[in-house]
Symmetry: C2
Subunit: 323 residues, 2 copies
Protein backbone atom coordinates (compact mmCIF):
# COMPACT_ATOMS: atom_id res chain seq x y z
CA UNK A 1 0.00 0.00 0.00
CA UNK A 2 1.20 3.50 -0.81
CA UNK A 3 1.28 6.33 1.72
CA UNK A 4 -1.70 8.73 1.60
CA UNK A 5 -3.14 11.76 3.29
CA UNK A 6 -6.04 11.30 5.67
CA UNK A 7 -4.26 8.81 7.92
CA UNK A 8 -5.24 10.64 11.04
CA UNK A 9 -5.36 7.56 13.29
CA UNK A 10 -1.74 6.74 12.49
CA UNK A 11 -0.69 10.35 13.17
CA UNK A 12 -2.64 10.43 16.44
CA UNK A 13 -0.79 7.32 17.61
CA UNK A 14 2.63 8.49 16.43
CA UNK A 15 2.39 11.90 18.07
CA UNK A 16 0.35 10.65 21.06
CA UNK A 17 -2.30 13.32 20.58
CA UNK A 18 -5.98 12.27 20.84
CA UNK A 19 -7.82 11.96 17.53
CA UNK A 20 -10.34 14.68 18.37
CA UNK A 21 -7.65 17.35 18.84
CA UNK A 22 -6.29 17.24 15.30
CA UNK A 23 -6.77 19.68 12.44
CA UNK A 24 -6.49 17.43 9.41
CA UNK A 25 -5.12 19.36 6.42
CA UNK A 26 -3.52 16.26 4.92
CA UNK A 27 -6.12 15.76 2.18
CA UNK A 28 -7.60 17.97 -0.53
CA UNK A 29 -11.14 17.28 0.63
CA UNK A 30 -13.68 20.11 0.96
CA UNK A 31 -14.06 20.63 4.73
CA UNK A 32 -17.67 21.79 4.18
CA UNK A 33 -19.05 18.60 2.75
CA UNK A 34 -22.33 18.19 0.93
CA UNK A 35 -24.91 17.63 3.71
CA UNK A 36 -26.02 14.03 3.47
CA UNK A 37 -29.82 13.83 3.22
CA UNK A 38 -31.95 11.21 4.96
CA UNK A 39 -31.90 8.03 2.88
CA UNK A 40 -34.67 5.52 2.25
CA UNK A 41 -33.85 2.17 3.94
CA UNK A 42 -34.05 0.40 0.57
CA UNK A 43 -30.70 1.80 -0.54
CA UNK A 44 -29.04 -0.20 2.25
CA UNK A 45 -31.15 -3.30 1.80
CA UNK A 46 -31.38 -3.94 -1.93
CA UNK A 47 -28.61 -4.73 -4.36
CA UNK A 48 -27.77 -1.48 -6.15
CA UNK A 49 -29.21 -1.18 -9.66
CA UNK A 50 -27.96 0.99 -12.53
CA UNK A 51 -30.13 3.84 -13.83
CA UNK A 52 -31.58 4.62 -10.42
CA UNK A 53 -31.02 8.32 -11.15
CA UNK A 54 -27.26 8.41 -10.55
CA UNK A 55 -26.20 8.07 -14.19
CA UNK A 56 -28.67 10.77 -15.27
CA UNK A 57 -27.57 13.18 -12.54
CA UNK A 58 -23.91 12.60 -13.43
CA UNK A 59 -24.53 13.16 -17.15
CA UNK A 60 -26.20 16.48 -16.39
CA UNK A 61 -23.57 17.67 -13.89
CA UNK A 62 -20.45 16.63 -15.79
CA UNK A 63 -21.73 17.26 -19.31
CA UNK A 64 -21.54 13.81 -20.91
CA UNK A 65 -23.52 10.58 -20.71
CA UNK A 66 -20.56 8.44 -21.87
CA UNK A 67 -19.93 7.43 -18.28
CA UNK A 68 -19.53 4.59 -15.82
CA UNK A 69 -19.93 5.03 -12.05
CA UNK A 70 -17.06 3.43 -10.14
CA UNK A 71 -16.20 2.93 -6.46
CA UNK A 72 -14.08 6.07 -6.28
CA UNK A 73 -11.64 7.08 -8.99
CA UNK A 74 -9.21 4.71 -7.24
CA UNK A 75 -11.18 1.76 -8.63
CA UNK A 76 -10.71 3.10 -12.16
CA UNK A 77 -7.04 3.93 -11.57
CA UNK A 78 -6.44 0.31 -10.62
CA UNK A 79 -8.55 -1.28 -13.36
CA UNK A 80 -7.58 0.83 -16.40
CA UNK A 81 -4.03 -0.44 -17.09
CA UNK A 82 -5.22 -4.01 -17.74
CA UNK A 83 -7.80 -2.71 -20.23
CA UNK A 84 -5.02 -1.92 -22.72
CA UNK A 85 -2.25 -3.99 -24.31
CA UNK A 86 1.19 -3.57 -22.76
CA UNK A 87 2.85 -0.42 -24.02
CA UNK A 88 4.67 2.75 -23.11
CA UNK A 89 2.99 5.00 -20.58
CA UNK A 90 4.09 8.53 -19.80
CA UNK A 91 3.12 10.39 -16.67
CA UNK A 92 4.09 13.63 -14.99
CA UNK A 93 6.64 13.59 -12.15
CA UNK A 94 5.66 14.16 -9.44
CA UNK A 95 2.01 13.15 -9.57
CA UNK A 96 -0.57 11.26 -7.53
CA UNK A 97 1.36 8.07 -6.73
CA UNK A 98 -1.51 5.63 -7.32
CA UNK A 99 -1.31 6.35 -11.06
CA UNK A 100 2.28 5.22 -11.71
CA UNK A 101 1.77 2.41 -9.17
CA UNK A 102 -1.15 1.08 -11.21
CA UNK A 103 0.84 1.19 -14.47
CA UNK A 104 3.87 -0.61 -13.05
CA UNK A 105 3.40 -3.57 -15.41
CA UNK A 106 3.61 -1.28 -18.43
CA UNK A 107 6.81 0.52 -19.45
CA UNK A 108 6.38 3.76 -17.55
CA UNK A 109 8.26 7.06 -17.89
CA UNK A 110 7.65 9.73 -15.26
CA UNK A 111 8.74 13.05 -16.74
CA UNK A 112 8.85 16.70 -15.69
CA UNK A 113 6.21 18.94 -17.26
CA UNK A 114 8.63 20.44 -19.77
CA UNK A 115 9.46 17.01 -21.19
CA UNK A 116 5.90 15.78 -21.73
CA UNK A 117 5.37 17.37 -25.15
CA UNK A 118 8.39 15.59 -26.65
CA UNK A 119 7.31 12.22 -25.20
CA UNK A 120 3.76 12.20 -26.59
CA UNK A 121 4.64 10.74 -29.98
CA UNK A 122 6.39 7.72 -28.53
CA UNK A 123 3.76 7.02 -25.85
CA UNK A 124 0.77 4.69 -25.97
CA UNK A 125 -0.74 6.22 -22.86
CA UNK A 126 -0.33 9.75 -21.54
CA UNK A 127 -1.59 9.96 -17.99
CA UNK A 128 -2.08 13.36 -16.36
CA UNK A 129 -3.78 14.72 -13.27
CA UNK A 130 -5.25 18.10 -14.14
CA UNK A 131 -4.66 20.17 -12.05
CA UNK A 132 -1.83 17.99 -10.85
CA UNK A 133 -1.61 16.58 -7.34
CA UNK A 134 0.38 17.73 -5.39
CA UNK A 135 1.91 20.65 -7.31
CA UNK A 136 -1.18 22.06 -9.12
CA UNK A 137 0.64 21.96 -12.50
CA UNK A 138 -1.82 22.60 -15.36
CA UNK A 139 -1.58 22.09 -19.10
CA UNK A 140 -3.70 24.31 -21.38
CA UNK A 141 -6.89 22.59 -22.48
CA UNK A 142 -6.01 23.07 -26.17
CA UNK A 143 -2.65 21.42 -25.54
CA UNK A 144 -4.35 18.37 -24.01
CA UNK A 145 -6.76 18.11 -26.93
CA UNK A 146 -3.91 18.25 -29.43
CA UNK A 147 -2.07 15.49 -27.54
CA UNK A 148 -5.26 13.42 -27.44
CA UNK A 149 -5.55 13.66 -31.23
CA UNK A 150 -1.94 12.63 -31.79
CA UNK A 151 -2.21 9.70 -29.39
CA UNK A 152 -5.55 8.53 -30.79
CA UNK A 153 -4.21 8.62 -34.37
CA UNK A 154 -1.78 5.88 -33.35
CA UNK A 155 -4.31 3.90 -31.26
CA UNK A 156 -3.07 5.46 -28.03
CA UNK A 157 -4.92 7.40 -25.38
CA UNK A 158 -4.88 10.41 -23.06
CA UNK A 159 -6.08 9.68 -19.52
CA UNK A 160 -6.87 12.78 -17.48
CA UNK A 161 -7.71 12.59 -13.79
CA UNK A 162 -9.80 15.66 -13.01
CA UNK A 163 -10.28 14.90 -9.30
CA UNK A 164 -9.63 18.52 -8.31
CA UNK A 165 -11.29 20.34 -11.23
CA UNK A 166 -14.87 20.84 -10.00
CA UNK A 167 -14.28 24.43 -8.92
CA UNK A 168 -12.97 25.26 -12.43
CA UNK A 169 -15.60 23.44 -14.52
CA UNK A 170 -14.87 25.21 -17.81
CA UNK A 171 -11.50 23.45 -18.03
CA UNK A 172 -12.91 19.92 -18.04
CA UNK A 173 -12.42 17.56 -20.98
CA UNK A 174 -15.54 15.59 -20.02
CA UNK A 175 -17.78 17.23 -22.64
CA UNK A 176 -15.52 15.62 -25.29
CA UNK A 177 -15.87 12.13 -23.79
CA UNK A 178 -16.62 9.51 -26.42
CA UNK A 179 -13.90 10.78 -28.74
CA UNK A 180 -11.31 8.10 -29.52
CA UNK A 181 -8.46 7.85 -27.05
CA UNK A 182 -9.88 10.10 -24.37
CA UNK A 183 -10.47 8.86 -20.82
CA UNK A 184 -11.44 11.28 -18.05
CA UNK A 185 -11.74 10.40 -14.35
CA UNK A 186 -13.87 12.36 -11.90
CA UNK A 187 -14.54 11.89 -8.20
CA UNK A 188 -17.07 13.19 -5.69
CA UNK A 189 -14.54 12.80 -2.87
CA UNK A 190 -12.87 16.19 -3.06
CA UNK A 191 -15.26 18.98 -4.16
CA UNK A 192 -18.36 17.44 -2.60
CA UNK A 193 -16.40 16.31 0.47
CA UNK A 194 -17.76 12.78 0.13
CA UNK A 195 -14.48 10.86 0.22
CA UNK A 196 -15.99 8.19 2.46
CA UNK A 197 -18.72 7.37 -0.05
CA UNK A 198 -16.26 5.97 -2.63
CA UNK A 199 -17.89 7.23 -5.82
CA UNK A 200 -16.24 8.37 -9.00
CA UNK A 201 -16.92 8.30 -12.72
CA UNK A 202 -15.06 7.28 -15.84
CA UNK A 203 -15.87 9.10 -19.08
CA UNK A 204 -14.71 7.34 -22.23
CA UNK A 205 -15.71 5.55 -25.41
CA UNK A 206 -18.51 3.00 -24.98
CA UNK A 207 -16.39 -0.08 -25.69
CA UNK A 208 -13.83 0.85 -23.05
CA UNK A 209 -16.59 1.55 -20.52
CA UNK A 210 -18.05 -1.91 -21.26
CA UNK A 211 -14.68 -3.60 -20.71
CA UNK A 212 -14.18 -1.65 -17.51
CA UNK A 213 -17.68 -2.52 -16.24
CA UNK A 214 -17.01 -6.19 -16.88
CA UNK A 215 -13.72 -5.99 -15.01
CA UNK A 216 -15.21 -4.15 -12.02
CA UNK A 217 -18.16 -6.52 -11.78
CA UNK A 218 -21.72 -5.96 -10.57
CA UNK A 219 -22.71 -3.68 -7.65
CA UNK A 220 -19.38 -1.86 -7.55
CA UNK A 221 -20.87 1.26 -5.94
CA UNK A 222 -22.90 0.92 -2.74
CA UNK A 223 -26.59 1.83 -2.71
CA UNK A 224 -26.39 4.60 -0.08
CA UNK A 225 -23.44 6.19 -1.88
CA UNK A 226 -25.33 6.12 -5.18
CA UNK A 227 -28.28 7.93 -3.56
CA UNK A 228 -26.21 10.60 -1.80
CA UNK A 229 -24.13 11.24 -4.92
CA UNK A 230 -27.20 11.59 -7.12
CA UNK A 231 -28.53 14.24 -4.72
CA UNK A 232 -25.20 16.09 -4.57
CA UNK A 233 -24.77 16.15 -8.36
CA UNK A 234 -28.24 17.62 -8.80
CA UNK A 235 -27.91 20.39 -6.20
CA UNK A 236 -26.83 23.38 -8.30
CA UNK A 237 -27.23 26.04 -5.59
CA UNK A 238 -24.97 24.07 -3.23
CA UNK A 239 -22.40 23.59 -5.99
CA UNK A 240 -22.32 27.29 -6.88
CA UNK A 241 -21.89 28.33 -3.25
CA UNK A 242 -19.19 25.68 -2.73
CA UNK A 243 -17.23 26.90 -5.77
CA UNK A 244 -17.20 30.46 -4.50
CA UNK A 245 -16.33 29.44 -0.98
CA UNK A 246 -13.53 27.07 -1.98
CA UNK A 247 -11.89 29.59 -4.29
CA UNK A 248 -12.05 32.26 -1.57
CA UNK A 249 -10.74 29.92 1.13
CA UNK A 250 -7.92 28.68 -1.08
CA UNK A 251 -6.82 32.27 -1.77
CA UNK A 252 -6.98 32.96 1.98
CA UNK A 253 -4.85 29.86 2.68
CA UNK A 254 -2.29 30.88 0.04
CA UNK A 255 -1.99 34.34 1.57
CA UNK A 256 -1.62 32.90 5.08
CA UNK A 257 1.16 30.52 4.01
CA UNK A 258 2.92 33.27 2.03
CA UNK A 259 2.86 35.55 5.09
CA UNK A 260 4.59 32.87 7.17
CA UNK A 261 7.53 32.21 4.90
CA UNK A 262 5.90 29.50 2.79
CA UNK A 263 5.72 31.32 -0.55
CA UNK A 264 6.10 29.82 -4.03
CA UNK A 265 4.41 26.68 -5.24
CA UNK A 266 0.84 26.80 -6.47
CA UNK A 267 -2.64 25.67 -5.69
CA UNK A 268 -6.11 24.60 -6.68
CA UNK A 269 -9.41 25.53 -5.05
CA UNK A 270 -8.90 22.56 -2.70
CA UNK A 271 -5.25 22.69 -1.63
CA UNK A 272 -2.04 24.70 -1.65
CA UNK A 273 1.35 23.19 -2.53
CA UNK A 274 4.52 24.59 -1.00
CA UNK A 275 7.86 23.15 -2.13
CA UNK A 276 10.52 23.60 0.55
CA UNK A 277 13.73 21.80 1.49
CA UNK A 278 12.53 21.99 5.13
CA UNK A 279 9.37 19.99 4.43
CA UNK A 280 10.18 17.14 6.83
CA UNK A 281 10.93 19.48 9.72
CA UNK A 282 7.93 21.74 9.11
CA UNK A 283 5.61 18.72 8.82
CA UNK A 284 6.86 17.46 12.19
CA UNK A 285 6.60 20.88 13.88
CA UNK A 286 3.00 21.24 12.71
CA UNK A 287 2.15 17.68 13.72
CA UNK A 288 3.48 18.32 17.22
CA UNK A 289 0.79 21.01 17.36
CA UNK A 290 -1.83 18.52 16.11
CA UNK A 291 -1.96 19.92 12.58
CA UNK A 292 -1.59 17.19 9.99
CA UNK A 293 -0.28 18.18 6.56
CA UNK A 294 0.71 15.94 3.70
CA UNK A 295 4.45 15.54 3.42
CA UNK A 296 6.17 14.81 0.10
CA UNK A 297 9.84 13.97 0.12
CA UNK A 298 10.63 13.98 -3.64
CA UNK A 299 10.34 16.77 -4.49
CA UNK A 300 10.35 18.04 -0.90
CA UNK A 301 7.18 19.93 -0.13
CA UNK A 302 3.98 20.14 1.84
CA UNK A 303 0.40 20.05 0.66
CA UNK A 304 -2.08 21.99 2.79
CA UNK A 305 -5.79 21.26 2.55
CA UNK A 306 -8.31 23.94 3.52
CA UNK A 307 -9.12 24.53 7.19
CA UNK A 308 -12.85 24.40 7.95
CA UNK A 309 -14.14 26.38 10.94
CA UNK A 310 -12.46 29.63 12.07
CA UNK A 311 -10.94 27.80 15.02
CA UNK A 312 -8.94 25.69 12.56
CA UNK A 313 -7.73 28.77 10.70
CA UNK A 314 -6.62 30.25 14.02
CA UNK A 315 -4.86 27.00 15.02
CA UNK A 316 -3.01 26.93 11.70
CA UNK A 317 -2.00 30.57 11.92
CA UNK A 318 -0.72 30.15 15.48
CA UNK A 319 1.25 27.03 14.53
CA UNK A 320 2.77 28.70 11.46
CA UNK A 321 3.86 31.68 13.52
CA UNK A 322 5.79 29.28 15.81
CA UNK A 323 7.80 27.69 12.99
Amino acid sequence: MLEHGGRLRAAAERYRIPLAEWVDLSTGINPRAYPVPALPPEVWQRLPEANDGLEAAAAAYYGSASLLPVAGSQAAIQALPACFPPGRAVTLAPTYAEHPHAWREHALCALPAAAIADAVDSADTLLLVQPNNPDAQRFPREQLLAWRARLAARGGRLIVDEAFLDAEPGDSLVPLAGEPGLVVLRSVGKFFGLAGARVGFVFAEADLLARLADRLGPWAVSGPARAVTAAALADRPWQEAARQRLNADSARLAALLNRHGLAGGGGTALFQWRPTPDAVAIHARLAEQAILTRLFETPAGLRFGLPGPETEWARLEAALSRL
Copy 2:
Protein backbone atom coordinates in the same frame (compact mmCIF):
# COMPACT_ATOMS: atom_id res chain seq x y z
CA MET B 1 -22.43 -9.35 -16.86
CA LEU B 2 -24.22 -12.41 -15.52
CA GLU B 3 -27.92 -12.52 -14.71
CA HIS B 4 -28.81 -12.01 -11.03
CA GLY B 5 -31.75 -11.78 -8.70
CA GLY B 6 -32.84 -8.38 -7.47
CA ARG B 7 -33.27 -6.87 -10.93
CA LEU B 8 -36.65 -5.46 -10.07
CA ARG B 9 -36.42 -2.46 -12.41
CA ALA B 10 -35.91 -4.73 -15.41
CA ALA B 11 -38.86 -6.92 -14.36
CA ALA B 12 -41.08 -3.89 -13.79
CA GLU B 13 -40.34 -2.73 -17.33
CA ARG B 14 -40.74 -6.12 -18.92
CA TYR B 15 -44.09 -6.88 -17.29
CA ARG B 16 -45.26 -3.23 -17.32
CA ILE B 17 -46.12 -3.27 -13.64
CA PRO B 18 -45.05 -0.28 -11.51
CA LEU B 19 -42.02 -0.86 -9.29
CA ALA B 20 -43.93 -0.26 -6.07
CA GLU B 21 -46.40 -3.09 -6.72
CA TRP B 22 -43.85 -5.90 -6.77
CA VAL B 23 -43.11 -8.54 -4.16
CA ASP B 24 -39.43 -9.25 -4.75
CA LEU B 25 -38.57 -12.83 -3.80
CA SER B 26 -35.76 -13.03 -6.34
CA THR B 27 -32.93 -12.70 -3.82
CA GLY B 28 -31.97 -14.50 -0.62
CA ILE B 29 -31.85 -11.26 1.35
CA ASN B 30 -33.44 -11.01 4.81
CA PRO B 31 -36.58 -8.90 4.26
CA ARG B 32 -36.29 -7.58 7.84
CA ALA B 33 -32.97 -5.83 7.51
CA TYR B 34 -30.79 -4.60 10.32
CA PRO B 35 -32.13 -1.11 11.15
CA VAL B 36 -29.50 1.36 9.99
CA PRO B 37 -28.56 3.69 12.86
CA ALA B 38 -27.90 7.42 12.48
CA LEU B 39 -24.35 7.89 11.23
CA PRO B 40 -21.83 10.60 12.10
CA PRO B 41 -21.18 12.83 9.06
CA GLU B 42 -17.46 11.98 9.21
CA VAL B 43 -18.05 8.51 7.77
CA TRP B 44 -19.21 10.14 4.53
CA GLN B 45 -16.57 12.87 4.51
CA ARG B 46 -13.30 11.21 5.44
CA LEU B 47 -11.39 8.52 3.60
CA PRO B 48 -12.21 5.24 5.36
CA GLU B 49 -9.46 3.96 7.68
CA ALA B 50 -8.83 0.39 8.82
CA ASN B 51 -9.24 -0.52 12.49
CA ASP B 52 -12.10 1.93 13.03
CA GLY B 53 -13.94 -0.82 14.94
CA LEU B 54 -15.08 -2.86 11.94
CA GLU B 55 -12.27 -5.42 12.02
CA ALA B 56 -12.71 -5.94 15.78
CA ALA B 57 -16.49 -6.36 15.51
CA ALA B 58 -16.05 -8.83 12.65
CA ALA B 59 -13.46 -10.86 14.55
CA ALA B 60 -15.84 -11.17 17.51
CA TYR B 61 -18.91 -12.02 15.43
CA TYR B 62 -17.34 -14.50 13.02
CA GLY B 63 -14.82 -16.05 15.42
CA SER B 64 -11.50 -15.22 13.77
CA ALA B 65 -9.30 -12.15 13.37
CA SER B 66 -7.58 -13.52 10.24
CA LEU B 67 -9.80 -11.33 8.10
CA LEU B 68 -9.96 -8.65 5.43
CA PRO B 69 -13.06 -6.48 4.86
CA VAL B 70 -14.01 -6.33 1.17
CA ALA B 71 -16.64 -4.51 -0.88
CA GLY B 72 -19.09 -7.40 -0.75
CA SER B 73 -18.05 -11.02 -1.23
CA GLN B 74 -18.33 -10.24 -4.96
CA ALA B 75 -15.09 -8.24 -4.72
CA ALA B 76 -13.31 -11.28 -3.26
CA ILE B 77 -14.89 -13.66 -5.76
CA GLN B 78 -13.45 -11.55 -8.59
CA ALA B 79 -10.03 -10.96 -7.05
CA LEU B 80 -9.17 -14.42 -5.68
CA PRO B 81 -8.43 -16.34 -8.91
CA ALA B 82 -5.51 -14.06 -9.85
CA CYS B 83 -4.00 -14.59 -6.38
CA PHE B 84 -3.04 -18.15 -7.30
CA PRO B 85 -0.99 -19.67 -10.12
CA PRO B 86 -3.02 -21.16 -12.97
CA GLY B 87 -4.28 -24.61 -12.06
CA ARG B 88 -7.27 -26.91 -11.92
CA ALA B 89 -10.33 -25.62 -10.11
CA VAL B 90 -13.31 -27.75 -9.16
CA THR B 91 -16.70 -26.37 -8.30
CA LEU B 92 -20.16 -27.73 -7.68
CA ALA B 93 -22.72 -27.67 -10.51
CA PRO B 94 -24.99 -25.82 -10.25
CA THR B 95 -23.67 -23.09 -8.00
CA TYR B 96 -23.62 -19.30 -7.72
CA ALA B 97 -22.57 -18.34 -11.25
CA GLU B 98 -20.12 -15.59 -10.29
CA HIS B 99 -17.73 -18.23 -8.91
CA PRO B 100 -17.14 -20.24 -12.11
CA HIS B 101 -17.24 -16.97 -14.09
CA ALA B 102 -14.36 -15.61 -12.00
CA TRP B 103 -12.28 -18.77 -12.47
CA ARG B 104 -12.72 -18.86 -16.25
CA GLU B 105 -9.00 -18.34 -16.86
CA HIS B 106 -8.16 -21.42 -14.82
CA ALA B 107 -9.04 -24.96 -15.93
CA LEU B 108 -12.44 -25.34 -14.32
CA CYS B 109 -14.54 -28.47 -13.76
CA ALA B 110 -18.12 -28.01 -12.57
CA LEU B 111 -19.24 -31.31 -11.05
CA PRO B 112 -22.34 -32.72 -9.35
CA ALA B 113 -22.08 -33.19 -5.59
CA ALA B 114 -21.50 -36.94 -5.83
CA ALA B 115 -18.41 -36.42 -8.01
CA ILE B 116 -16.65 -33.86 -5.82
CA ALA B 117 -14.92 -36.33 -3.49
CA ASP B 118 -13.17 -38.10 -6.36
CA ALA B 119 -11.99 -34.81 -7.88
CA VAL B 120 -10.32 -33.39 -4.77
CA ASP B 121 -6.97 -35.08 -5.27
CA SER B 122 -6.49 -33.72 -8.76
CA ALA B 123 -7.68 -30.19 -7.96
CA ASP B 124 -5.63 -27.15 -6.97
CA THR B 125 -8.73 -25.25 -5.89
CA LEU B 126 -12.00 -26.65 -4.56
CA LEU B 127 -14.63 -23.94 -4.56
CA LEU B 128 -17.92 -24.52 -2.72
CA VAL B 129 -20.85 -22.43 -1.58
CA GLN B 130 -22.05 -23.81 1.75
CA PRO B 131 -25.02 -24.09 1.85
CA ASN B 132 -25.06 -24.01 -1.92
CA ASN B 133 -26.90 -21.40 -3.94
CA PRO B 134 -29.44 -22.13 -5.37
CA ASP B 135 -30.06 -25.76 -4.29
CA ALA B 136 -29.02 -25.60 -0.59
CA GLN B 137 -26.68 -28.60 -1.01
CA ARG B 138 -24.48 -29.04 2.08
CA PHE B 139 -21.34 -31.06 2.74
CA PRO B 140 -20.62 -32.21 6.31
CA ARG B 141 -18.17 -29.94 8.08
CA GLU B 142 -15.79 -32.86 8.79
CA GLN B 143 -15.80 -33.72 5.10
CA LEU B 144 -14.81 -30.16 4.18
CA LEU B 145 -12.01 -30.17 6.75
CA ALA B 146 -10.64 -33.45 5.41
CA TRP B 147 -10.68 -32.04 1.87
CA ARG B 148 -8.94 -28.88 3.08
CA ALA B 149 -6.15 -30.98 4.57
CA ARG B 150 -5.66 -33.02 1.39
CA LEU B 151 -5.64 -29.93 -0.82
CA ALA B 152 -3.29 -28.01 1.49
CA ALA B 153 -0.83 -30.92 1.60
CA ARG B 154 -0.29 -30.39 -2.15
CA GLY B 155 -0.26 -26.57 -1.95
CA GLY B 156 -3.92 -26.35 -2.97
CA ARG B 157 -6.83 -24.71 -1.25
CA LEU B 158 -10.48 -25.02 -0.26
CA ILE B 159 -12.54 -21.87 -0.83
CA VAL B 160 -15.90 -21.87 0.94
CA ASP B 161 -18.47 -19.14 0.36
CA GLU B 162 -20.64 -19.04 3.49
CA ALA B 163 -22.90 -16.19 2.31
CA PHE B 164 -26.04 -17.98 3.59
CA LEU B 165 -24.67 -19.57 6.76
CA ASP B 166 -25.31 -16.91 9.43
CA ALA B 167 -28.46 -18.57 10.72
CA GLU B 168 -26.50 -21.83 11.24
CA PRO B 169 -23.35 -20.42 12.82
CA GLY B 170 -22.05 -23.70 14.27
CA ASP B 171 -21.36 -24.99 10.76
CA SER B 172 -18.93 -22.23 9.82
CA LEU B 173 -15.29 -22.95 8.97
CA VAL B 174 -14.27 -19.39 9.92
CA PRO B 175 -12.91 -20.38 13.37
CA LEU B 176 -10.27 -22.45 11.51
CA ALA B 177 -9.17 -19.52 9.33
CA GLY B 178 -5.42 -19.14 9.21
CA GLU B 179 -4.87 -22.85 8.56
CA PRO B 180 -3.05 -23.45 5.28
CA GLY B 181 -5.24 -23.72 2.21
CA LEU B 182 -8.48 -22.48 3.78
CA VAL B 183 -10.32 -19.44 2.45
CA VAL B 184 -13.78 -18.54 3.75
CA LEU B 185 -16.01 -15.78 2.37
CA ARG B 186 -18.75 -14.09 4.36
CA SER B 187 -21.17 -11.32 3.52
CA VAL B 188 -23.48 -9.00 5.43
CA GLY B 189 -25.81 -8.76 2.45
CA LYS B 190 -28.05 -11.73 3.17
CA PHE B 191 -28.56 -12.34 6.90
CA PHE B 192 -28.29 -8.69 7.92
CA GLY B 193 -30.24 -7.57 4.86
CA LEU B 194 -27.56 -5.02 3.98
CA ALA B 195 -26.98 -5.98 0.34
CA GLY B 196 -26.80 -2.34 -0.71
CA ALA B 197 -23.90 -1.65 1.66
CA ARG B 198 -21.44 -3.89 -0.24
CA VAL B 199 -19.55 -5.37 2.68
CA GLY B 200 -18.09 -8.84 3.03
CA PHE B 201 -15.09 -10.49 4.62
CA VAL B 202 -12.38 -12.89 3.56
CA PHE B 203 -10.90 -15.20 6.19
CA ALA B 204 -7.59 -16.78 5.23
CA GLU B 205 -3.87 -17.01 5.93
CA ALA B 206 -2.15 -13.68 6.50
CA ASP B 207 -0.03 -13.75 3.33
CA LEU B 208 -3.05 -14.34 1.11
CA LEU B 209 -4.96 -11.54 2.86
CA ALA B 210 -2.01 -9.22 2.22
CA ARG B 211 -1.92 -10.10 -1.48
CA LEU B 212 -5.67 -9.63 -1.72
CA ALA B 213 -5.53 -6.26 0.08
CA ASP B 214 -2.86 -5.08 -2.34
CA ARG B 215 -4.95 -6.17 -5.30
CA LEU B 216 -8.14 -4.52 -4.00
CA GLY B 217 -6.36 -1.27 -3.18
CA PRO B 218 -7.03 1.33 -0.51
CA TRP B 219 -10.52 2.40 0.69
CA ALA B 220 -12.28 -0.59 -0.85
CA VAL B 221 -15.23 -0.40 1.59
CA SER B 222 -17.12 2.88 1.98
CA GLY B 223 -17.09 4.70 5.30
CA PRO B 224 -20.86 4.60 5.96
CA ALA B 225 -20.96 0.89 5.14
CA ARG B 226 -18.09 0.21 7.54
CA ALA B 227 -19.96 2.01 10.34
CA VAL B 228 -23.31 0.30 9.77
CA THR B 229 -21.68 -3.11 9.47
CA ALA B 230 -19.70 -2.65 12.68
CA ALA B 231 -22.96 -1.87 14.49
CA ALA B 232 -24.79 -4.84 12.98
CA LEU B 233 -21.99 -7.30 13.80
CA ALA B 234 -21.99 -6.16 17.45
CA ASP B 235 -25.76 -6.37 17.99
CA ARG B 236 -26.19 -9.83 19.50
CA PRO B 237 -29.87 -9.46 20.53
CA TRP B 238 -30.83 -8.46 16.96
CA GLN B 239 -28.84 -11.39 15.56
CA GLU B 240 -30.49 -13.93 17.87
CA ALA B 241 -33.98 -12.66 17.06
CA ALA B 242 -33.18 -12.65 13.33
CA ARG B 243 -31.94 -16.25 13.44
CA GLN B 244 -35.13 -17.46 15.07
CA ARG B 245 -37.32 -15.43 12.75
CA LEU B 246 -35.55 -16.50 9.55
CA ASN B 247 -35.62 -20.17 10.43
CA ALA B 248 -39.34 -19.95 11.28
CA ASP B 249 -40.16 -17.99 8.12
CA SER B 250 -38.18 -20.34 5.92
CA ALA B 251 -40.08 -23.33 7.34
CA ARG B 252 -43.34 -21.46 6.73
CA LEU B 253 -42.31 -20.74 3.13
CA ALA B 254 -41.35 -24.38 2.55
CA ALA B 255 -44.74 -25.55 3.84
CA LEU B 256 -46.56 -23.00 1.68
CA LEU B 257 -44.72 -24.08 -1.48
CA ASN B 258 -45.22 -27.76 -0.66
CA ARG B 259 -48.97 -27.22 -0.22
CA HIS B 260 -49.18 -25.68 -3.69
CA GLY B 261 -47.52 -28.43 -5.65
CA LEU B 262 -43.95 -27.17 -5.31
CA ALA B 263 -42.50 -29.93 -3.13
CA GLY B 264 -38.97 -31.35 -3.24
CA GLY B 265 -35.82 -29.31 -3.39
CA GLY B 266 -34.33 -27.85 -0.23
CA GLY B 267 -33.66 -24.65 1.57
CA THR B 268 -31.66 -22.48 3.88
CA ALA B 269 -32.92 -19.99 6.45
CA LEU B 270 -32.95 -17.38 3.66
CA PHE B 271 -34.47 -19.12 0.63
CA GLN B 272 -36.23 -22.20 -0.67
CA TRP B 273 -35.19 -24.01 -3.85
CA ARG B 274 -37.75 -25.86 -5.94
CA PRO B 275 -36.55 -27.82 -8.98
CA THR B 276 -39.32 -28.17 -11.55
CA PRO B 277 -39.47 -28.68 -15.32
CA ASP B 278 -42.16 -25.97 -15.38
CA ALA B 279 -39.85 -23.33 -13.90
CA VAL B 280 -40.05 -20.94 -16.89
CA ALA B 281 -43.84 -21.01 -16.97
CA ILE B 282 -44.28 -20.69 -13.21
CA HIS B 283 -41.80 -17.81 -13.08
CA ALA B 284 -43.80 -16.00 -15.77
CA ARG B 285 -47.19 -16.69 -14.11
CA LEU B 286 -45.91 -15.31 -10.81
CA ALA B 287 -44.31 -12.30 -12.50
CA GLU B 288 -47.61 -11.47 -14.18
CA GLN B 289 -48.94 -11.16 -10.64
CA ALA B 290 -46.00 -8.91 -9.71
CA ILE B 291 -44.16 -11.57 -7.75
CA LEU B 292 -40.54 -11.83 -8.82
CA THR B 293 -38.76 -15.12 -8.21
CA ARG B 294 -35.32 -16.18 -9.38
CA LEU B 295 -35.48 -18.48 -12.39
CA PHE B 296 -32.78 -21.04 -13.11
CA GLU B 297 -32.88 -22.86 -16.42
CA THR B 298 -30.16 -25.49 -15.89
CA PRO B 299 -31.20 -27.31 -13.81
CA ALA B 300 -34.72 -25.95 -14.17
CA GLY B 301 -35.95 -24.53 -10.90
CA LEU B 302 -37.07 -21.53 -8.93
CA ARG B 303 -35.50 -19.92 -5.90
CA PHE B 304 -37.93 -18.20 -3.52
CA GLY B 305 -36.69 -15.63 -1.04
CA LEU B 306 -38.69 -14.93 2.12
CA PRO B 307 -41.73 -12.65 1.98
CA GLY B 308 -41.60 -9.84 4.54
CA PRO B 309 -44.91 -8.37 5.77
CA GLU B 310 -48.08 -10.50 6.00
CA THR B 311 -49.44 -8.77 2.89
CA GLU B 312 -46.57 -10.31 0.90
CA TRP B 313 -47.28 -13.79 2.30
CA ALA B 314 -50.92 -13.37 1.30
CA ARG B 315 -49.96 -12.16 -2.20
CA LEU B 316 -47.68 -15.18 -2.67
CA GLU B 317 -50.29 -17.64 -1.41
CA ALA B 318 -52.94 -16.16 -3.71
CA ALA B 319 -50.62 -16.28 -6.69
CA LEU B 320 -49.56 -19.87 -5.99
CA SER B 321 -53.17 -20.96 -5.74
CA ARG B 322 -53.74 -19.57 -9.25
CA LEU B 323 -50.93 -21.59 -10.84
